[in-house]
């Protein structure tokens, strides 16, 4: 195949990026733009989770904690001392990475269900702490970021387009990072750890080091999305940004698309998020949780019938067609 097929593929990607980047110039419906923004945001989060959950095979159910740290760090710094969220976002990311190093060191030697438990317990404890220490976090009342005027230097925009481009860029970066991880030795090490941790250890891979590293990178980028969320929605509270439900949404998207693959989380996001947004708008507040009800059902169906996700189904389908055409 060689050069020709590769450059064709690159051309196709560039075309896709151009199409997606030009959407705001003709799509003037604010609600549809909002759906696109949320879709990108969750695809991005699923892509970040994928580094730990997919490639390294460590089922973290605590990613809401990193998301919440990002949201609260930049918002508290902005409200407290007027620091621009553009710097706050990096501080939030670094704090989340440090937190990940701490809990990763504690928990990553745990196997299977006990690692999952530890991540849920950590995230829930953090949520309770944020609800409890009201002097700093305002507890369940949450924090409101006032939107007075367009202020690009303070990460505040009155229209949706700038947010669209920011989150789109973030998604592209996360895909690029996934590509880099896949091709680097870290990617191979993580794969080896997922397939057989003991075997990986025995051939000299520092299992704990690479697992913690993956968790730290994932936490850093997940926290960036937290800041984005806070700026975009202008309001955060622990019961929005640190819940187990949020973590479950993220992993469902990754699993449905296909965990441990480059495009799986993106496909999962593009399929599931518009559906859940549609349910949210048509069923409204009276049926809060309708989309999660469906997420739960979808997880069960996928695990029993298609453990490799939509991407797995697509590639099997593709192989069947290829075989027929040959």
């Amino acid at each position: 195949m060689g050069f020709g097929a590769g450059s064709k593929r690159v051309a196709r990607y560039i075309l896709l990026v151009i199409i997606l980047a030009s959407i705001p110039s003709f799509l003037k419906d604010d609600y549809l733009l909002h759906v696109m923004i949320v879709t990108f945001l969750f695809s991005y989060l699923a892509e970040c989770w994928n580094w730990v959950g997919g490639y390294a095979g460590q089922l973290s159910l605590g990613h809401a904690a990193f998301f919440g740290i990002g949201a609260y760090a930049s918002t508290l710094l902005f409200l407290g001392s007027g620091l621009t969220p553009w710097i706050g976002i990096l501080i939030g990311g670094s704090l989340a990475a440090a937190f990940a190093a701490l809990i990763g060191g504690l928990s990553l030697r745990l196997r299977g269900p006990f690692f999952v438990l530890f991540t849920i317990a950590t995230a829930e404890t953090l949520r309770y702490s944020f609800l409890t220490f009201r002097e700093i976090t305002k507890g369940a009342y949450g924090l409101l970021i006032p939107t007075l005027r367009n202020d690009p230097l303070l990460f505040k925009f009155l229209s949706k387009e700038p947010y669209y481009y920011i989150v789109f860029t973030m998604l592209l970066i996360s895909i690029a990072v996934t590509g880099i991880i896949e091709r680097s030795k870290i990617g191979y090490f993580l794969n080896a750890i997922r397939e057989d941790q003991d075997a990986a250890q025995s051939i000299g891979i520092d299992v704990t080091k690479y697992k913690v590293l993956a968790l730290m990178i994932s936490a850093f980028f997940t926290a960036l999305a937290g800041t984005f969320y806070a700026q975009y929605f202008s309001y955060i509270c622990p019961d929005d940004v640190m819940t187990v439900a949020l973590s479950i949404e993220i992993i469902t998207i990754a699993i449905i698309g296909g965990a441990g693959t480059l495009w799986g989380p993106v496909i999962g996001g593009f399929v599931l998020v518009p559906i859940s947004e549609y349910l949210r708008i048509t069923l409204g507040g009276t049926f809060a949780g309708a989309h999660l009800f469906i997420y739960g059902a979808v997880i069960i169906i996928v695990i029993i019938f298609a453990p490799r996700g939509l991407l797995g189904i697509l590639s099997d389908f593709g192989r069947v067609i290829m075989r027929r055409s040959v």
Partner: protein, 288 residues
């Protein structure tokens, strides 16, 4: 500090710890026999509490009478889970097994939210506010009877496991699946029974909790996270461990609430959890 307050706190902690122990024994049973951690266990408890609530709201049944109906109902739900959902993934990776039970938990929790809204439901009984007093320590009748019922259930289960043939077959399946199978034990049937019993513990717990607690869709999460800590503390596969662990965690929460503030309950439980994982990840007890 007034010794009466400490004594009161100890009594309260032990009473609630008994219920933690009962819920935790259900988790221990599934983990011990099948090596699966059931993340939907808390949602079984939620279903047990709602069933008790509806039996009260519609038929006026006392929660302690409802035990006779809720327990078999939960047994059926648990057995059906094993037959239709767990069995297909028995040979799959841990990763997929965990995801499956998380999916079930999400489905049940949000199904309850859709069906019954997020309103808090309570059962009002005449004995809920009554208490006896010994040495200035007040013991709520509802709390005491919940504790006694939990302990009787645990004791009945102990007799079942040690004296009956089915109990012996369950233990055999736990020790070695293949060997048990070769000895003529129908392992899949044992798994179904184990799941049924595990869920029916939450049926009993749900019923006895209703006079002293309230039902809402996410109620399971709080209890199940505590129970997971209990199970890890107790040594994962040990029923004695679950019992002792439940009482310890109940005590720790209650004393922590008295000396610090009730709000720190979760933090205390988490600190215990992190400490066990660091110092003694194998827990207190080894044997089943």
């Amino acid at each position: 500090m007034d010794p009466t307050i400490v004594l009161q706190s100890i009594v309260n902690g032990l009473l609630i710890g008994g219920i933690y122990a009962l819920i935790s024994m259900g988790l221990t049973l599934i983990y011990g026999i099948m090596g699966i951690v059931n993340f939907a266990h808390g949602e079984y408890l939620m279903l047990g509490m709602y069933s008790t609530y509806w039996l009260f709201a519609i038929f006026g049944l006392d929660p302690y009478i409802s035990i006779a109906l809720v327990t078999p109902l939960l047994f059926v739900i648990g057995a059906a889970t094993q037959k239709f959902l767990i069995k297909p993934v028995l040979e799959a990776s841990h990763f997929n097994q965990i995801l499956l039970t998380i999916g079930l938990s999400t489905l049940l929790l949000n199904g309850a939210l859709l069906a019954w809204t997020s309103d808090y439901r309570t059962v009002i009984t005449a004995y809920a506010t009554r208490a006896i007093e010994i040495f200035n320590v007040r013991i709520g009748i509802a709390h005491l009877s919940a504790f006694i019922t939990a302990m009787l259930t645990a004791f009945a289960f102990y007799i079942f496991m040690s004296r009956t043939d089915t109990g012996k077959m369950l233990r055999a399946a736990a020790q070695n699946r293949d060997a048990a199978s070769l000895m003529g034990v129908n392992v899949h049937k044992m798994y179904t029974i184990a799941f049924g019993i595990s869920a029916s513990f939450t049926g009993v717990a749900g019923a006895i909790l209703m006079p002293i607690y309230y039902a809402f869709p996410a109620v399971g999460l709080d209890f199940v996270l505590t129970s997971f800590v209990v199970v890890v503390l107790g040594g994962l596969k040990s029923f004695r461990g679950a019992l002792v662990g439940g009482l310890i965690i109940g005590l720790a929460e209650s004393l922590g609430g008295t000396f610090a503030a009730t709000e720190y309950n979760k933090l205390i439980t988490f600190i215990i959890f992190a400490t066990i994982l660091l110092i003694r990840p194998q827990g207190l007890f080894k044997k089943m």
